[in-house]
């Protein structure tokens, strides 16, 4: 049920059934058609994998080898020094404590943002789906239209709001910003999901005297774990990868990882250490990549659900 009812046929079709592709098994012949299909796909796959490969091999080489050699050649002598340096001692400006600071900042930003935004959006989606009140749809429409407004339009008003409530430059402020901008997509996701649940469930609970929060915590929440997982995936990758909000709403000592990474790699001082840069880039990409490879089809379902607005 959870797969088919998510948002639309698109979402359902994005996740093929447990049996994998339907229909008869492909023929085993080396037909020209097969050669073309697999050949093209393999060439494109190599193209897609190449940057990841180059990142890995560059981060494992020493600088002399990089200066002499070819970026595609595997390292002759594997060294983990660039990784250690990127993590612990790479410099941004005057600070030389590496990416680790940015990493922990990003953790401190991502975890509360994910929890807060999903808590707000799930309760809100539930209210919109099952407890509609007058005007609810209007506010929801504004919220969805707002998702398409370029962030640049709202950057400065939010600076003023955060300054007024004393959160400008703090991690709490950034958490608030992420919760605000995660709201349209997540609310849509939860609203559609709760609206697709059988109405009898809701009615029966009402008859038994359960109220707003009782139904949410005892019935809706336990029955919608898959959609919560999808929401967590969307939010972790989205917030971890954010750059714009991080650079606008935090100070250098609270910069998230992406901002710090950009400062390390694109700093103009000193000799460019490409191996350290690539190690730092790879470390920053590891969290979303891990989420992606672990979550597999749920990630696909998340973007398909997120893609179908309205």
């Amino acid at each position: 049920m959870s797969t088919a009812t998510l948002a639309s046929p698109v979402a359902a079709a994005a996740a093929p059934g447990p049996g994998g592709p339907q229909g008869p098994k492909p023929q085993r012949r080396f037909s020209r058609r097969n050669l073309f299909v697999y050949g093209t796909l393999s060439v494109v796959a190599v193209y897609y994998l190449l940057p990841l490969y180059v990142m890995v091999v560059t981060s494992l080489k020493g600088m002399p080898e990089i200066r002499m050699g070819n970026i595609f050649s595997p390292p002759m002598e594997i060294t983990f020094e660039p990784w250690v340096k990127a993590w612990a001692t790479a410099c941004t400006g005057l600070n030389c404590d590496g990416l680790s600071r940015g990493f922990w900042n990003s953790v401190r930003i991502t975890v509360p943002s994910v929890v807060l935004s999903i808590a707000i959006a799930s309760v809100n989606g539930y209210a919109l789906a099952n407890w509609r009140f007058k005007g609810a749809e209007t506010f929801f429409a504004i919220l969805i239209v707002g998702a398409f407004i370029p962030y640049q339009v709202m950057l400065y008003p939010i600076v003023i709001i955060l300054r007024e409530i004393g959160l400008y430059g703090s991690l709490t402020g950034l958490v608030l910003v992420h919760s605000i901008f995660g709201m349209p997509i997540l609310t849509l996701l939860f609203r559609n999901y709760f609206a697709s649940m059988p109405e009898e469930l809701f009615k029966a609970a009402r008859v038994d005297g359960a109220g707003f929060w009782g139904i949410y915590f005892r019935i809706m929440l336990p029955m919608s774990l898959p959609i919560f997982v999808v929401a967590v995936i969307i939010q972790i990758t989205g917030i971890w990868n954010d750059f714009l909000f991080g650079v606008v709403y935090t100070r250098p000592d609270t910069y998230p990882m992406t901002v710090q990474l950009n400062n390390i790699v694109n700093s103009v001082q000193g000799v460019k250490e490409y191996n350290v840069n690539m190690a730092a880039t790879l470390i920053t990409g590891l969290v979303p990549l891990a989420v992606y490879f672990v979550s597999g089809k749920l990630f696909v379902r998340g973007i398909a659900a997120g893609a179908v607005k309205g």
Binding site: A14, L50, N124, F139, N241, L244
Partner: protein, 325 residues
Amino acid sequence: MREKLVRSAGEGRIRADKTAPPKASPMTDDQTRPPGRLLRNLNAKIASLPMILTATVVFLGGTIWTVVYSFTNSKLLPRLKFVGLEQYERLWAAPRWLVSIENLAIYGVLSLVFSLVIGFLLAALLDQKIRFENTFRTIFLYPFALSFIVTGLVWQWLLNPDHGIQSVVRGLGWESFDFDPLYNSKIVIYGILIAALWQGTGLVMCLMLAGLRGIDEDIWKAARVDGIPIWRTYVFIVIPMLRPVLVTTLVIIASSIVKVYDLVVAQTSGGPGIASEVPAKYVYDYMFHAQNLGQGFAASTMMLLSVAIVMVPWAYLEFGRRRRA
């Protein structure tokens, strides 16, 4: 809505009667409900409060605020001293803004066309009932999980003229091979485009594949029986049937194009010179570095306008059609 709740509670009671004795008073909630209109359905309103505040204060209020202040001569701090269209005149006279717009136009059109075409072709290939479909899909989509900063930095390294692709090809013996888009102001935007396509086509492929999977198998059979070549089936039957998916994809790509910022910052920082500037970067730089808020507001209002030009007809078609249906 109230009628609906009462009615549904009534239906539920009939249902409940069959299975179990009804609870003492299933309608307590309705009976003890306070009389005021505002207090009706109070919990739902409390739960929606963050949404209401976000929608009205941040989205609506923030947008109006920025548009209003774009007509002032705010410098370091926002001030309500109106100067008419002066900021816009200055904006459209600034070479950097014109370069930004030109870049956005080139980047936008090309990334729209290429990501749609490549995404569709990949989806069509994956839809041929092949083996390892999941593996291929995982490979094509993984860049989408990465940050634009990561993407930009990787491609900055790959396109590095001294160590990257150019030097490798020269090392193979083609000495005159020239490929250094990030250091050539004439073609730098194409260097950014390559990185953007690497990251973004996986998403388009995924959406298209979902659309293709939604097409009835019988259509393919009918086309085969009629002897229509595969490419003609795609062009004249399948693609028109994919219209809703195509429109959705188009809207997603279009709204992400206008926002392009991080990629440029990571890959070129707008250089060489101002050759790869984009509007979003213009806004940020004027608001937070040049301390010329008025210019930033005017530029961001122009961005809003360009999104509106794309979105309003789409919303009109989409929701107008739904109402008629």
